[in-house]
């Protein structure tokens, strides 16, 4: 039995924004700040998703993932690197020996404008190449047409191909526009088998926002209460500053609670965030404000 996806709970934008703004006023200082920064670092899906990506670029990225900042070798590594399917093998090889996952976008990323068979093949290819996690996109056109069973079936089909491989479902919330749509898409994705729900491809503006993330976290919470199954969350795109990352963690903590404060249940899809977190961590440890020239920009 699946819920009625046509009449999902409505979401009030202003109320969500007020809640976010209130949570943003949490003051994260001292120990909790350092702890939060390191936690955020451990949750990053260090990402490169460009047409000009090459094996060399991906290997550099993987090196950064493994050793974010040489002077502090005890720092956590990022959670995963995220690449296109044809880069998965390269990444897998570069990360050998580490516990860092390789995540691959699939299903005709970023638009999702392809037939199902192509999407299934794309997914299967990524997995065959060694991907530990698959980030798929939903068909936003079908969603906006109200063709919710299409979305459900497509996700279910991809999940079937994934098997035990973690499936993250990208809603591309920037194209869904309303928070009520975000809530609806979240519910469809989770009921169809998503292990994670993810805001954005990074190719559409706005990408991740805190109001969108809050709505998705609340959907995860309600789904958990309903089914007992934990689903993870990944805001992606546009998160560049350590301060924002801490704000996201506050959203997670006060919506879902402590169990979700882990790379197993929460990820940041980002690239430049890594360095800002590192700079802030070093600042916390040394008391001295940092410059980005001391941090490798891979």
């Amino acid at each position: 039995m699946y819920p009625d996806f046509i009449n999902t709970t409505p979401i009030d934008l202003v109320g969500v924004e007020e809640r976010v703004s209130r949570l943003n006023k949490r003051s994260i200082k001292k120990d909790s700040k350092l702890q939060g920064l390191k936690l955020a670092l451990s949750m990053i899906d260090h990402t490169t998703l460009e047409g000009k990506d090459s094996e060399g670029k991906v290997r550099q990225l993987c090196q950064k993932a493994k050793m974010p900042y040489a002077p502090l070798p005890d720092l956590p590594t990022v959670a995963a690197v995220c690449v296109y399917p044809n880069m998965v093998a390269t990444a897998k090889q570069a990360l050998q020996g580490s516990s860092i996952h390789v995540a691959s976008v699939a299903t005709a990323f970023p638009s999702g404008m392809a037939q199902l068979q192509i999407k299934l093949d794309d997914t299967k290819f990524a997995i065959d190449q060694g991907a530990d996690e698959v980030d798929m996109v939903i068909s936003r056109g079908e969603f906006l047409k109200g063709n919710y069973s299409f979305i459900f079936d497509e996700i279910a089909a991809i999940k079937e191909v994934c098997g035990d491989i973690h499936l993250k479902v990208i809603l591309e919330t920037g194209e869904l526009e309303t928070l009520t749509n975000v809530r609806k898409a979240s519910e469809i994705a989770m009921h169809a088998g998503a292990d994670f729900i993810k805001t954005s491809t990074g190719k559409v503006s706005p990408a991740a926002t805190q109001p969108v993330t809050l709505v998705m976290l609340e959907a995860i919470r309600d789904y958990y209460r309903e089914t007992g199954r934990m689903v993870g969350m990944k805001p992606a795109g546009g998160i560049r500053k350590a301060k924002e990352a801490l704000q996201y963690l506050v959203l997670v903590k006060e919506t879902l609670g402590a169990p979700w404060l882990s790379k197993d249940w929460f990820r940041f899809g980002a690239s430049s965030l890594t360095n800002d977190l590192l700079m802030q961590i070093v600042k916390q440890e040394t008391g001295v404000y940092q410059s980005n020239i001391y941090f490798s920009n891979d």
């Binding site: 709970t9 109320g15 200082k29 909790s32 936690l39 670092l41 958990y224 882990s262």
Partner: protein, 513 residues
């Protein structure tokens, strides 16, 4: 400080061991506290200069009280004495009223309205300049969280002066067919829940319309009014236009009964409001009363549920529930009540109760020992009446007056905790089945200050809103305040409006053009 500062894991733990529960708790309760708790983030009160002793502010100067009697002001978060201030007598009130009368006759009522407005603008700016200081003192004196005094009380107080400053030279446009004249000397008595903000609500419109004032702050929270007195001095406001006489009930009574006061504005309990209204019987003094409330917050099953939960939290836990317009009665449609209460309980777990000066505190200290005891009495009454009480599991500091956020279920309309204003973080929850039942229950009270309606259906909002016998209807929101927005009660919640254009009426005599 409560132990929110200590995390159950050490800092070096970068990952969360509790990350993979194989099976959820039997009741799927969320765990908000086992990992990454916030370190304390206190706002520093180092630069705050609170004098050992304060006199009245009369005729532009701080003066010793006529009879030398003083009252102590206690920090409710620590139970320590903050300062001592004068207890106003009939003589002190008389001196203040004479000063107000004199400057009213000779200066203030004759001043070009534009210049009058400019003084008020100056005051607004100076409140902004000293905003952090005012916020900290407000939190120390009254126990409210710094987040609220910093983000709500002080900025809205400044905004009030800005708003009314602009009215001073535009009164001809406010009252069709009438010319507005000032009333004269206004006696103003304000409560302890929003000390500076209530002062702004009273003084800004009074000055803008050309009146002079004698204001008495509450006996537990006089400090920001006294800082405001300094601001009046700094702004160069003519001596006597604003007079602050501190004291308790007797001082208030001296103001109410003073023959040369033309208007009384009171915010406080319905009980005292009625005494004031009776004292004024047979006089021609104008009066406005902002009294108690027992606001109903109605949640329909088609509402935006998570935003509604947040609205309920804002409605009753804002300012420790010391809010006359608090949504203290929750009415939830039967079909969603169980799920809604579960969500509310979850949300209550994330409320941080503690040091008012900590930036992360959501619920600060109960304003005074008296109020603390009163709330506890009601908790007992509720339990004795057979209601089911639920409190969040937060820790409370050892010293100071604190109350856990509390909800009561299994109650009905006839319970005392449903009928009487508790003025604390205590919510009663009832259910309803139809809109008519919700309307009936909401209006089944002598109060009529506020109500909340939560539904995604516009036509229902208008229908239910039309039927609410309350001065403020918050639809899909709650406890919002703005200087442009009139505020005040129906029935026993008061007479008159404060805020907006309507807030000018109580301070004017309208004469035919």
């Amino acid at each position: 400080m409560s132990d929110q500062t200590t995390s159950s894991k050490t800092v070096s733990d970068q990952t969360n061991g509790a990350s993979k529960p194989t099976s959820p708790n039997s009741d799927l309760k969320l765990d908000f506290s086992s990992f990454w708790n916030y370190s304390s983030a206190p706002e520093s009160s180092e630069n705050i200069d609170i004098k050992k002793k304060y006199g009245h502010f009369i005729n532009g100067k701080f003066v010793e009280p006529a009879k030398g009697r003083t009252i102590k002001s206690i920090n409710p978060a620590t139970e320590e004495v903050l300062t001592e201030f004068a207890e106003g007598t009939v003589e002190d009130v008389d001196a203040a009223v004479s000063a107000a009368r004199k400057v009213y006759e000779t200066v203030w009522s004759k001043l070009d309205p534009r210049e009058r407005g400019k003084y008020i603008y100056r005051i607004a700016r100076m409140i902004q300049e000293r905003s952090r200081e005012l916020a900290i003192v407000e939190s120390m004196d009254g126990g409210k969280p710094i987040r609220e005094s910093r983000d709500v009380d002080v900025p809205i107080a400044a905004a009030h002066f800005f708003y009314y400053a602009g009215w001073a030279d535009k009164l001809d446009y406010a009252f069709p067919g009438r010319k507005a004249e000032p009333v004269g000397v206004c006696g103003q008595i304000i409560p302890w829940n929003f000390p500076l903000l209530m002062l702004a609500w009273k003084i800004a419109p009074a000055l803008a319309t050309g009146n002079t004032v004698v204001l008495k702050p509450a006996e537990t929270t006089p400090l920001t009014a006294l800082i405001f007195a300094e601001i009046c001095q700094d702004a160069g406001l003519p001596d006597g236009v604003v007079n602050i006489v501190t004291g308790a009930g007797q001082t208030g009574s001296a103001i109410v009964n003073h023959k040369d006061v033309d208007k009384i504005a009171f915010t406080g309990s319905t009980k005292v409001g009625k005494i004031i209204q009776k004292s004024l019987a047979g006089t021609d003094k104008k009066f406005t009363l902002e009294l108690g409330g027992k606001g109903a917050n109605i949640i329909f099953e088609d509402a935006s549920i998570d935003q509604a939960v947040e609205g309920v939290v804002n409605a009753i836990f804002f300012n420790q529930g010391h809010v006359c317009c608090a949504g203290s009665r929750l009415l939830v449609q039967e079909g969603i009540s169980e799920a809604f209460i579960q969500k509310l309980k979850g949300r209550m777990e994330t409320l941080i109760v503690g040091d008012p000066l900590d930036k992360n505190t959501d619920i600060g200290a109960i304003n005074s020992k008296t109020q603390y005891e009163r709330i506890n009495e009601y908790l007992e009454i509720g339990a004795n009446e057979g209601a089911t009480m639920y409190q969040s599991s937060c820790d409370l500091p050892e010293n100071g007056y604190y109350c856990k956020p509390t909800i009561f279920t299994d109650i009905s309309q006839s319970n005392r905790i449903v009928q009487e204003e508790i003025f604390g973080p205590v919510l009663t929850i009832q259910t309803f089945r139809t809109p008519d039942e919700a309307i009936d229950k909401a209006n089944n009270t002598p109060y009529g200050l506020s109500s909340g309606i939560w539904t995604d259906k516009g036509s229902k909002i208008f229908k239910v809103g039309q039927n609410m016998r309350s001065g403020v209807v918050w639809s899909n929101t709650f406890n919002k305040f703005d200087p442009t927005s009139p505020f005040g009660g129906y029935k026993e919640s008061g007479v008159g409006r404060e805020g907006g254009l309507h807030g000018l009426y109580p301070y004017t005599k309208l004469v035919k053009n």
